[in-house]
Amino acid sequence: MIRSLPSSGLYRWGFRSYVFCYFFFLFAPLLVTCLLAFNDSMFPSLPWKGFTWDWFFSEGPTKIGFFHDQKNLRSLWASLKVAFSVTLLSTLLGTCAAFLFEQEEFRFKNAMYFLMLAPMVIPGVILGISILMCTNTLGLFFEKTVGWDVELLRPGYWLVVLGQVSFISTFVALVVIARLRKFDRTLEEAAMNLGAGRMAAIWFVTLRYLRPALIGSAAVAFLMSFENFNTTLFLVGSESTIPITLYLQVRDGSTPVINAISFVLILTSSVIALANVFIARRET
């Protein structure tokens, strides 16, 4: 039944083969995608026509590799810029929220906490459309009453950032709260007894303790932002992010350059994921 109890060979082998099948199911599409990035064919499919780096480095004209594909490179850059701002803002907001809900007492705390959890169950599409309409109404209002044309309120970079921050901050807050719960507050009190102000105690003691959680949640925030589609779709302006550009290409069919991009994305996110695990292990 479990480690410490005797079990029949059939039970153990049954379980093992199930786990094996599960992992096969989990990794098969990723492996196939990566492999076909190196196939010397105009279509992302078999038969295998030989190994090539063309879908990464070729300059055209028949095959345009990822690193010479201006449209995809521009979207990649747009995604990186968005993810950078989102990571910064949502880590800040999430950390503030964690301190607020773990260390402070105030009226309506519970109600506010539930409100903060709401993005966990609000579909991204809904967040996207409601933020779009709200900013649109505000924009119209400013234009009519004061005659301002507020760039910030039109679909574009900052709207995408705000839309993603609205729910990614919740994930950061939950991770930081979980870590803050294990924190021994007498450490902060000790620092304050020794003459530190509360801010200094938080800065030198609590935030040091929270570091693994902060790094981990920043990494998750970055990837969540980078791969977000549902919310971004409604808020994006002329600079579309990589998931949206890729979506259009996947839908309409394209050369294996998508496989090359996917390969790069899979590789980078695996490296970030493994680094994240490694840092978390070392610090605890």
Partner: protein, 287 residues
């Protein structure tokens, strides 16, 4: 903590950003969503208050049947995800050796760091008519001609299961980790069979994790757009697509808002019923 002069400042330092975030990015947009759903008329006409946008949903069978279809499929996907991931979570926490455990966890999470689009694309190039599986079967001589496996409901459900597995595995693993092995050992020593141990000990103990995973999976599936669109093909008929169409294709924001609000309302109702049926509290589940 003393509430002196500096304590107040620090409280505000934490409170203000969070309050602004919740007010400007969550409360206000949803109030606007609700308001827009009651405004009548074409875009920009600025008519009076009306129920028309909601009535439109019930009058036009395509809308509510799509909604019903999406709801039923989302529940089905949630149940499949649960059955597939329970044994895996159990294996990772209770059966695998301590060393293998860490490795298994990393391996389980790894694919989910990759974008949903990339993962769905992987399935598309495997399953489509000119895809990898077809070529493989033809080469082996098992199939006489290429078969289109994409663009049907079964494949769409598989894709949705594939993209949401993680959201069930993580919460279930975290409750099972805290389940004391000696409970299972005691039941075993007293003669309980495997089925009884699962039914009387493991499932009840894991219930908060199961429900929290189910809620998140259900909401993600219900609100997903990419997977049904790419794997379900032309007749996938997912409700988020209707919302998208109202906004982008017909430019009817009022109708779209009503759909959005209905989606929010009815999916919350389904979650509420599920919580009542399993006798769980939302506050325990969303810890």
């Amino acid at each position: 903590m003393h509430k002196g002069g500096s304590g107040r400042w620090i409280f505000l330092l934490f409170f203000m950003p969070v309050a602004l975030w919740l007010l400007l990015l969550l409360v206000l947009p949803h109030v606007e969503l609700l308001r827009m759903s009651f405004v009548s008329g074409e875009f920009g006409a600025g008519g009076g208050v009306t129920w028309d946008n909601y009535l439109g949903f019930f009058h036009e069978p395509i809308y509510w049947t799509t909604f019903l279809r999406t709801a039923i499929y989302s529940i089905a996907v949630t149940l499949i995800v649960l059955t597939v991931s329970l044994p895996i979570a159990f294996y990772a926490t209770k059966i695998a050796g301590a060393k293998a455990q860490g490795f298994l966890l990393v391996l389980l999470l790894l694919p989910f760091w990759v974008s949903e689009l990339v993962r769905v694309y992987g399935w598309m190039i495997i399953l489509r008519e000119s895809g990898v599986l077809s070529s493989f079967m033809l080469a082996l001589g098992l199939w006489k001609e290429p078969v289109e496996l994409l663009y049907n409901d079964a494949v769409m459900i598989m894709g949705l299961v594939y993209t949401t597995l993680l959201f069930m595995i993580v919460p279930v693993i975290s409750v099972l980790e805290s389940l004391d092995d000696s409970l299972i050992e005691a039941a075993y020593d007293l003669g309980a069979g495997k089925l009884a141990i699962w039914r009387r000990i493991i499932i009840p103990y894991a219930m908060p994790g199961i429900m929290s995973g189910s809620i998140v999976v259900f909401m993600i599936v219900f609100g997903s757009y990419l997977t049904p669109k790419l794997m379900g093909g032309k007749n996938s008929l997912w409700f988020t697509e209707q919302i998208y169409n109202q906004f982008i294709t017909y430019f009817n924001w009022n109708q779209g808002s009503a759909f959005g609000f209905l989606l929010l309302l009815l999916s919350s109702a389904i979650i509420w019923v599920a919580l009542k049926l399993t006798r769980q509290k939302l506050s325990d589940v969303l810890k």
